[in-house]
């Protein structure tokens, strides 16, 4: 199972500032009709990034450096509001593999965990330093380390928190129920072969 675990997320970071950013802002409701989650990667903050005519506005996700960034620095109560799993899905599909903020909407944090994205908490002042550092140098590399529970970048080293069971689930790869279920394929076959109906009730 360990090969599915998540220990460190390394890469460039995007800073989105502001408290109480709700999931409607992260992904507007009209994108919920999508048949699949896979195309959602184009839509984070869509209505803030584009005006009604589709022209680009100034937004951290529109900067050149945002493409390929893996980490998102936010403020307090990020992801409050509607429970849509589409919100973490669209961030993940953009390429965000870890979020670091002061606090989160509870369901948003749970949804993040379901898809293997740590939503880590950091203390407000330390977080402000991370946000400044990422804004000052768009090419700066950061590392969210779930073993040492810290974010490193430049000369910064900021402690982070995650509920311990969530941290373990990420480290051990247990956040992914599919992964666990698939890993037991051999035991599944044993049960399958034991059940009379799978062989049409013929003697084994």
């Amino acid at each position: 199972m360990t090969d599915l675990g998540i220990r460190r997320i390394e890469g460039r970071a995007i800073t989105v500032r502001g408290n109480d950013i709700d999931t409607d802002r992260i992904i507007p409701a009209r994108f919920l009709k999508a048949l699949t989650f896979s195309e959602l990667g184009e839509y984070p903050f869509y209505d803030e990034r584009f005006d009604s005519e589709g022209r680009e506005r100034e937004h951290p996700f529109n900067r050149e450096s945002a493409r390929g960034a893996k980490i998102l620095f936010v403020n307090a109560n990020f992801g409050c509001g509607s429970s849509r799993e589409h919100a973490p899905q669209c961030l993940k599909r953009w390429g965000i593999d870890a979020v670091v903020g002061i606090s989160y909407g509870e369901i948003f944090a749970g949804n993040c965990e379901m898809i293997g994205v740590p939503a880590a908490r950091a203390e407000a002042q330390a977080l402000a330093k991370l946000q400044e550092a990422a804004e000052a140098d768009a090419s700066a590399e950061f590392c969210v380390d779930l073993e040492r529970m810290e974010v490193r970048g430049g000369n910064l080293r900021v402690p982070i928190e995650l509920p311990e069971n969530r941290r373990r689930a990420l480290l051990d790869g247990h956040w992914d129920s599919t992964g666990q279920l698939v890993a037991n394929a051999e035991q599944v076959r044993n049960v399958y072969e034991r059940l009379p109906y799978t062989r049409g009730y013929q003697e084994a």
Partner: protein, 467 residues
């Protein structure tokens, strides 16, 4: 902890492993799927490079979005067309059998699984749909699941689950004439509450249940979820076996004999122990109608609507909201309520027995002026059977519209919808605000004969006075 019940026996024989999360990995014998809750699941599978682990144990159909009047492709509703295309593509590329319209086997997922003989006693069944408990009528453990769990079943043929408690609901005595299976389950939900079943599987038992046909048992099990229960079942017996014999996917010959022995062994033991036992009497049940905004808010057809003061403080806000939405008042009788629409259909009541009951009342009568009444068979097979019996003509001559199979007006995902604040006498299972496609629409849940009677009289009526 219950022991010796059908629930325990199926659970024990299907557990694969205890997972690191503390949940159990359970093997799923039959995975039923439809167009609404699968596209994201297939997509996630493709993304991970996973295949469907046991494609022969999954079957797909189309029911929620399919139009029931004009089936010409592309569908009038663009979103429906896209969902249909996604299902066609996914089932093709993952090797899953798709019972589409051309197969002649299409229908509501909970109608076709049983009628094709796919659901056998002692199985585990899962479907990305909350009314999967329907299949418990065959003595199975059947779970409604979410999209990420559909992905799990596709990828591994398993679910990770917490064990349930078991409540035996023993319905003894006999039903009065004119009282239908729908009335039985509405009565149970009213008694135990819409949250009463949380954490439980319901075992329906007693002479009333034992005396029921398979279709009747399906109606009862279907609405287990409306009572909060995750699953509901009836122990398999001769009625179950007689229903299965000769169906397309039922075993034959020696395999049939072996299957019978196996199936019998799954019934709850006479000395099984339960987490809870509730006893009720069939004689206490009247034809039921819901008056509110959840399936527990129901009354007997002649009973005055309840006083909000009679409810617990916790319940009262919902009761008040129900009165405000429905425009009814305490003390009023439901037989005073005029209706605009009658919907006979849904996975609760769209089987041949339901249509026969409704047709019996409709024969030689006329739908009241100003009422729109539609009859939507649960499957192509039900439709065909009904037409062979001439029921379609009985309905048409009485002024009911005769439609193609699908979920139709059970939920606002296709072109059959309520308009404005219309009142609908409906044989479906949910009367939530907006459920039938209009935010102001008003749904009254009832049995097929009660719905037919409402259509004929133009208001809620006691079907027994028409019979």
């Amino acid at each position: 902890m219950a022991s010796g019940t059908l629930y325990n026996k199926i659970w024990d024989s299907h557990v694969v492993e205890r997972l690191p999360t503390g949940q159990y990995q359970l093997f799923i014998g039959l995975h039923l799927t439809h167009e609404v809750t699968t596209p994201q699941a297939y997509d996630m599978l493709a993304e991970r490079g996973l295949r469907v682990a046991w494609p022969e144990r999954t079957v797909a159909t189309v029911d929620h979005i399919i139009p029931t009047d004009d089936l010409a492709r592309p569908y009038v509703d663009e979103q429906a067309e896209l969902m249909m295309q996604a299902l066609e593509k996914n089932t093709r590329s993952f090797g899953v059998r798709f019972l589409d319209f051309a197969s002649g086997r299409q229908g509501i997922v909970h109608v076709i699984g049983p009628e094709l003989g796919m659901v056998h006693p002692g199985m585990t069944v899962a479907c990305g749909d909350s009314h999967t408990a329907t299949h418990g009528a065959f003595g199975t453990l059947a779970f409604g699941i979410g999209t990420s769990q559909v992905r799990d079943v596709l990828a591994s043929q398993c679910l990770s689950l917490d064990p349930l408690r078991v409540r035996r609901i023993e319905m003894n005595g006999a039903l009065a004439p004119g009282v239908e299976p729908k009335d039985v389950i509405l009565h149970i939900i009213r008694r135990l509450g819409v949250k009463g079943g949380i954490g439980y599987a319901y075992e329906y038992a007693g002479s009333v249940i034992e005396g029921m046909s398979m279709e009747a048992r399906m109606t009862v099990c279907n609405m287990s979820i409306e009572g909060g229960a995750r699953a509901g079942y009836v122990n398999p017996d001769e009625t179950t076996f007689a229903y299965l014999e000769g169906r397309e996917h039922a075993p034959v010959g020696e395999a049939w004999d072996a299957a019978l022995t196996h199936w019998r062994s799954f019934a709850s033991d006479a000395d099984a122990s339960y987490d809870d036992v509730v006893e009720m009497r069939g004689e206490d049940i009247e034809p039921m109608v819901t008056w509110g905004i959840h399936p527990g808010q129901s009354v007997g057809v002649h009973e005055p609507l309840p006083d909000p003061e009679a409810f617990d403080e916790a319940e009262r806000p919902t009761v008040e909201r129900a009165y405000a939405h429905m425009g009814f008042r305490p003390g009023q009788k439901m037989t005073e309520v005029p209706i605009d629409v009658c919907f006979i259909g849904s996975c609760t009541n769209s089987r041949i027995s339901d249509l026969r009951t409704a047709a019996e009342l409709a024969r030689g009568r006329r739908v009241a002026e100003g009422v729109k009444a539609i009859v939507v068979p649960g499957s192509q097979a039900v439709k065909k059977q009904a037409e062979e019996e001439g029921l379609d003509r009985v309905f048409s001559e009485a002024g009911f519209e005769w439609r193609h199979a699908g979920c139709s007006m059970c939920l606002g995902m296709n072109t059959d919808k309520l308009v404005g604040d219309q009142v609908c006498a409906s044989t479906s299972n949910r009367n939530f605000i907006g459920r039938q496609g209009s935010p102001r629409g008003r749904t009254l849940l009832m049995s097929p004969s009660m719905a037919a009677a409402a259509a004929l009289e133009g208001r809620v009526s006691d079907a027994r006075t028409l019979a």
